[in-house]
């Protein structure tokens, strides 16, 4: 909420203009240097850099010469603590306790962020780097592991079967999740009532469902009772159980952001609930809904544990989701790295890299599509909307033209202008 308040765009042009304008005061006499509010002063920067240099120097001294300390982790920790100490000292030279607390807190916050983002980037880059050995062989994408053993070099075998398996499973899962998820989100927002509140609570609870329990459920309910064999379809169902609450919650949030006065305008024009949902609410929230689905897909693709129980492991390319095991990318990673052979581990990292790329691409698409809240249009959409309303205006003008022409004519024409009818005097 306060985001919009803090970073609100400049006041709309509808503000009274010209009434009283702000004037620049005369620059005569004493005016101080212009203040830059958003920039650190020279002194602040000196404190920061100086303390960092002193901290690094101290810990290097301690580790290299004075104290019997070793290890990279220890060096980093000691440098950081020394840096903090020096920073407090330097700040204390000029500031009081309040300012020290403020500076140190800011440094701590930034450090927490730096550690977190560093770790994230490192996790991703680590998998991509270790995966590059297998990644650059074309056969990695065009062959399955059917004819390749654990001792074969990386030029033999590939993960085509896992890619196909992932695509088939996620397609089935999406075919169930999209209609059901969006319909449920619409139900939560547009129909409402006591039952909707109950559904929302249940969906909330469902997001906490441990993925392995979802797999166990499908294993017991579908594989043991119905199909009696592991299959791609069962895996897709398990993924659906995991994806459904994610999609519903994300779509629910998006639909909730659709401005209420758009709905009211639609009702006021005489549209029913269904017309309002189909013609106003869903189009307004379209980009957000697509984002919700894509993010759910990204999560669903990466699920390992439900698939572990339900899809079965195979090295053979299979296009039939209803019979026989069908492996997917995350499960293939898991299966590869269980082997002690270095080539298999390299294949595992290669597969993980492919999986990560897929997730990153999906995420990128979601960001591009859903970067803005509902109701805000991209320049092209804005242009299209303007064109549409111009067409509408033209159409209305064309329809109105003969009417106005005839209504200006003497009263024998049956001009349906209620104003004239209602005014006999």
């Amino acid at each position: 909420m306060s985001d919009t308040l803090l970073e609100a765009p400049p006041a709309p042009a509808s503000a009274p203009r010209g009434a009283r304008r702000t004037t620049v005061p005369d620059r005569v006499g004493e005016t101080g240097e212009r203040r830059r509010l958003h920039r650190a002063t020279f002194e602040e920067r000196f404190d920061l850099i100086g303390a960092a240099a002193a901290g690094l120097a101290t810990s290097t001294l301690l580790f290299g010469w004075i104290a019997p300390l070793t290890g990279v982790v220890g060096w980093i920790v000691v440098s950081y603590l020394a840096f903090l100490g020096y920073y407090v000292l330097l700040t204390a030279l000029v500031g009081d306790r309040q300012r020290i607390a403020d500076r140190v807190a800011t440094v701590l916050l930034v450090s927490a962020g730096a550690i977190l983002f560093g770790a994230l980037v490192f996790v991703v880059v680590f998998a991509l780097l270790r995966g590059r050995d297998a990644f650059w062989h074309l056969n990695f994408f065009t062959q399955s592991m059917e004819l390749a053993g654990p001792l074969d070099p990386l030029t033999e075998g590939g993960i085509l079967h896992a890619i196909v398996g992932t695509l088939i499973q996620i397609t089935i899962a999406l075919a169930i999740t999209i209609p059901l998820g969006i319909a449920t989100a619409v139900f939560l927002n547009e129909v409402g009532g006591r039952f909707a509140r109950f559904v929302r609570t249940i969906v909330d609870a469902m997001t906490a469902l441990p993925s392995i329990v979802a797999g166990l459920f499908i294993y017991a309910a579908v594989i043991q009772l119905v199909t009696h064999q592991r299959s791609g379809f069962a895996a897709a169902l398990a993924i659906t159980v995991m994806m459904l609450p994610i999609v519903i919650r994300a779509a629910d949030v998006v639909l909730r952001l659709v401005p209420g006065n758009l709905r009211e305008a639609s009702y006021a024009l005489g549209a029913g609930r269904w017309r309002t949902v189909w013609g106003v609410v869903l189009p307004t929230a379209r980009s957000g809904l697509v984002t919700a689905v894509i993010l759910g897909t990204a999560r669903g693709i990466g699920e390992t544990s439900p698939v572990l129980l339900t899809s079965g492991v195979t090295a053979v390319l299979s296009f039939n989701p209803f019979s026989g095991p069908m492996i997917s990318l995350p499960l293939q990673v898991f299966d590869f790295v269980r082997s002690p052979e270095p080539t298999m581990i390299a294949r595992g990292f290669g597969t993980a890299a492919v999986l990560l790329m897929l997730v990153l691409v999906l995420f990128g698409i979601a960001r591009v599509i859903g970067g803005r809240p509902p109701g805000q249009l991209s320049p092209r959409q804005q242009q299209r909307a303007q064109e549409a309303s111009r067409r509408d205006a033209d159409r209305m003008a064309r329809r109105a033209a003969p009417v106005t022409a005839s209504s200006t004519a003497p009263s024998e024409s049956p001009a349906p202008v209620p104003h004239e009818k209602a005014d006999p005097s």
Partner: protein
């Protein structure tokens, strides 16, 4: 528009003008179909969830009838002999979850404050996107990182902790006879390492819940604090943190719920044992989900029922935690609908 749905029925124009008009609506065909479809979608979603709970309960009864209340106190897991219980695995699950929280809480709190209070403009939106992206990174990738990178680099740290803090019981590493262990193999595959990896996985969830709560702290109070001369940290401490307390608690519990349910990263890192291991840093731990992943394959019908019972316990624990968390978060949230 075509749908004549909200036909106002009896408008009493004549008669007593003071009496209230009776308004009623008769939904059109499209509307009633829409309502029913939406209801059906909601009902299907709910029934899936209830089916999960029902199925687990039904299939678990066989095992629970044999094990009785001992299911919660027995440490071993051998359903074939009738001696099985979740005490050890549940203990391991909670240990890993707590280590994960200790890793994640400072990072998430700091990052959430950084994103809501310090970072501005483009930097902020990039970082927020990165946090969301981190939530979408598959757990197997974290598992790979934990096994092939973190394990080797954390062992010296674990050894250092156990060398200097052995007097705290949970940091001591001893063998059965009580002799202190120092070799590398004693520190691998521990709950500590698994907890750190799981902690990194739950940070994004916690961060986004906390950030949302922090950014809802009222602007008037913020500006009031600043106008009274507070520094940024003073404003955070007196306005943002008290207003965001619900978000902090709720986000932490949501993270804990996630950590307890995490399977594949834990399964890849720990070496499973079926005794309660108080020594965090020592090799060997277990979790309910890792137990299921480990044993489902060779399970007989009865053993599967036992696994279902374990799954049911995990399900109930995460359910309680999640419900509490979301009610805390919801209570601290306001404004259901926005006006454009």
């Amino acid at each position: 528009m075509t749908g004549r749905s909200h036909v106002v029925e009896r408008i009493m124009l004549v008669g007593d003008p003071a009496s209230p008009r009776v308004l009623g609506t008769r939904p059109s065909l499209a509307d009633s179909v829409f309502r029913r479809t939406a209801y059906a979608a909601g009902a299907i979603t709910v029934s899936v969830m209830l089916a999960v709970g029902l199925f687990l309960t039904l299939r678990a009864t066989d095992a629970l009838r044999v094990a009785g209340f001992g299911f919660l106190t027995e440490q071993q897991w051998s359903p074939e002999t009738g001696h099985f219980g979740v005490a050890a695995v549940l203990f391991g699950t909670v240990t890993i979850g707590l280590v994960a929280l200790c890793t994640a809480l400072p990072l998430a709190l700091g990052t959430a404050l950084l994103l809501s209070e310090v970072a501005r403009g483009r930097l902020r939106s990039t970082l927020v996107a990165l946090v969301d992206l981190m939530a979408a990174v598959p757990s197997i990738v974290f598992g790979l990182w934990g096994v092939f990178f973190l394990q080797d680099n954390v062992i010296p740290v674990a050894r250092w902790i156990s060398t200097y803090f052995w007097w705290i019981p949970i940091f001591d590493v001893t063998d059965d006879s009580g002799a202190t262990l120092t070799e590398d193999s004693a520190f691998t595959s521990s709950a500590f390492i698994a907890g750190i990896v799981v902690g990194l996985m739950i940070v994004p969830t916690m961060t986004s819940v906390m950030r949302e709560a922090f950014s809802q702290a009222p602007i008037g109070e913020r500006e009031g604090a600043l106008a009274l001369g507070a520094t940024r940290w003073g404003m955070i401490r007196t306005v943002v943190l008290p207003f965001g307390r619900g978000g902090i608690i709720g986000g932490t519990m949501l993270g804990l719920g996630r950590a307890l349910g995490e399977t594949i990263a834990v399964y890849m890192i720990i070496s499973p044992i079926f005794t309660i291991n108080w020594q965090l840093l020592k090799s060997g731990s277990n979790s309910v989900s890792a137990l299921i992943a480990l044993r489902y394959g060779e399970a007989s019908d009865f053993a599967l029922s036992a696994l279902m019972a374990a799954g049911l316990v995990l399900f109930l624990v995460t359910l309680v935690i999640n419900f509490t968390a979301s009610s805390i978060v919801a209570r601290s949230r306001s404004g259901a609908q926005s006006e454009g």
